[in-house]
Amino acid sequence: MNALSLPDGRRIPLDKDGYLRSLDDWSIEVAGTLANNENISLTDAHWEIIHLVQQFYEETGLAPATRALVRLVAQRAGPDKGRSIYLMKLFGGKPALTVSKLAGLPRPANCF
């Protein structure tokens, strides 16, 4: 079975596409290791966005789609960060999908 190997040796079960099988497995270390697998090294700038998305999910039950993510970040972290170019620099070509994955949100059914 596909698994994520954490620095402390624990193995976290993943599905075929690299999503967590159980969302309860999410932790800061898990997020960091998932990010490393996508060649992202998490900094405070990343965490600011991840926390925003987790908070948004807590409030609404939604994982924000691209344009909504940009607006959300603009509203809560300022207009200089609420731009797709800023988010793509942090999280790559599909920031909304990647942030949701790193934040431990449910896997979207509609991923294409």
């Binding site: 599905d15 075929k16 596409d17 059914a109 509609n110 294409f112």
Partner: protein, 128 residues
């Protein structure tokens, strides 16, 4: 006229799935074009190839399949509706490690974007 259908009820659940089929046939007979059939919510139950209908009852699913193949219709089942109701094609069965695929021939699985696209490219969207 270019028409798309939004079908939200399963065969046998109530009258509406059968009405949709009759409407589609009538529209084609009258010379209209059907741009897309979009199956949503319980409507995705139309696309299973595992249902067994008593021999003295009308098999709506077989009739849909025949119509779709005969007129080469674009028949899309909503992926989110389909997954949670246990309707999968080979690709989704493999992705989610399920033991079988049961999507009937002629149907494809895709997102609500295909419904939006149907709204944009049809003169009318008729929902059932």
């Amino acid at each position: 006229m270019k028409i798309s259908l939004l079908i939200m009820s399963a065969p046998g659940e109530n009258q509406s799935n059968q009405s949709a089929l009759s409407f589609a046939r009538a529209a084609l007979d009258a010379g209209h074009e059907i741009y897309r059939l979009f199956f949503y919510e319980q409507g995705v139950g139309t696309g299973t190839n595992l249902a067994v209908v008593p021999q003295d009852e009308y098999d709506l699913r077989a009739a849909w399949q025949e119509l779709i193949q005969q007129h080469d219709l674009d028949a899309v089942v909503c992926v989110a509706s389909a997954l949670k109701r246990g309707l999968l094609n080979e690709e989704e069965a493999e992705r989610y490690e399920r033991p079988a695929a049961n999507l009937a021939k002629g149907f494809t699985i895709s997102g609500l974007g295909q419904w939006v696209d149907a709204c944009i490219h049809s003169d009318r969207l008729v929902s059932f």
